[in-house]
Symmetry: C2
Subunit: 204 residues, 2 copies
């Protein structure tokens, strides 16, 4: 999911710059990232980067906005499908995206960016928006399941909050302790399904 934005060929200068930022971030991490290093990954002149951004933080906040736009597409709501199936697919997409084992450099860098939000309101706003997007998408799935009578009448927002919180915790643990994320995510899915399904622990 995270990575999808950077799979294809970039189109236009902004996308080229965002791909360059992604590569530089994966390679150097946040602390050692400089505009110069991003410039080295960028086919065009580094002065073009300075023309648009005052410093690396302004560029990185814009980069987070670019990621969010990608999430909005990748995590688009597909109405009509069985909500139990949609929930399973949404969790599978998280596992193959930000929690993909091949993308640890990026997960580490994203975590370092997230911690900038402790003191920097611009980062804070971006991560609050990203979390909100995922909460809304998960809450939409839960709400559809309740409407269709396949999920119990739980609080959709609280359920979505649990899902997003656990995913964020799994990313954090993975990059700070080497903890594999699968056991926690499998337990999350089992516990949430048990809580949601009107027929208890039975499969859909």
């Amino acid at each position: 999911m995270v990575a999808t934005a950077f799979h294809g060929e970039p189109e236009g200068t902004r996308e080229e710059l965002m791909h360059a930022t992604y590569r530089a971030l994966c390679e150097h991490g946040y602390a050692d990232l400089t505009i110069e290093r991003i410039g080295r990954e960028f086919d065009k002149s580094v002065s073009l980067v300075y023309h648009h951004y005052d410093g690396k933080d302004e560029l990185l906040v814009d980069f987070l906005g670019f990621l969010l736009e990608d999430f909005e597409t990748a995590f688009a709501v597909e109405d009509g499908e069985d909500p139990r199936e949609r929930l399973r697919e949404a969790l599978a997409r998280v596992r193959s995206g930000p929690l993909d084992a091949d993308d640890e450099g990026f997960a580490s860098a994203l975590t370092e960016l997230r911690v900038q939000a402790v003191h920097d309101p611009a980062y804070r706003e971006q991560f609050a928006r990203t979390d909100r997007l995922f909460r809304e998408r998960f809450a939409g799935i839960v709400r559809a399941g309740i409407d269709q009578g396949v999920f119990r009448d739980v609080d959709p927002e609280a359920t979505a909050d649990l899902l997003v919180t656990t995913i964020n915790g799994a990313i954090l643990q993975r990059v700070t302790t080497d903890r594999p994320v699968e056991p926690a995510l499998e337990a999350l899915e089992a516990a949430v399904r048990s809580w949601l399904l009107v027929d208890g622990v039975a499969e859909s």
Copy 2:
């Protein structure tokens, strides 16, 4: 829970230094913390700090070890009690500890320390040990519940992993997005209880 270590009067030089580190960390955060600033909170000479530690990171890793010792006591296993009650109490202790609304400065600083673990093996080892302690305590409660026939035969380690992962995610979200932790933690408790309890969603 986190805070209990710093509630009473410190006993001996090491505890005094740990309390001084706690106060300096809450006030300045990780990035602006210096041995001098810790020294200003410390009744004894700052040269005593330099005598024992090569720099702030060595002191902070020792500080994390001190916290872990405190968790080991505060989170001691109380055998004999009803596992359903023990699970509820353990989660309540987390809410009044690292997730206590009055302790946000410390939660922020701890999160900044945790992100040092992305690149620093000494921090990584400490946070891995802390997570492991909490996982073992939660798994012990789940195992007792299964043995006594009040919990379903789930994987105790995976359940504990879910609990610790969600708690870590809640701390992260709180200090990086202002997200209140209660909805996610209430959903966690409800989902885990629904998954564990042999009588489904009924209360103990």
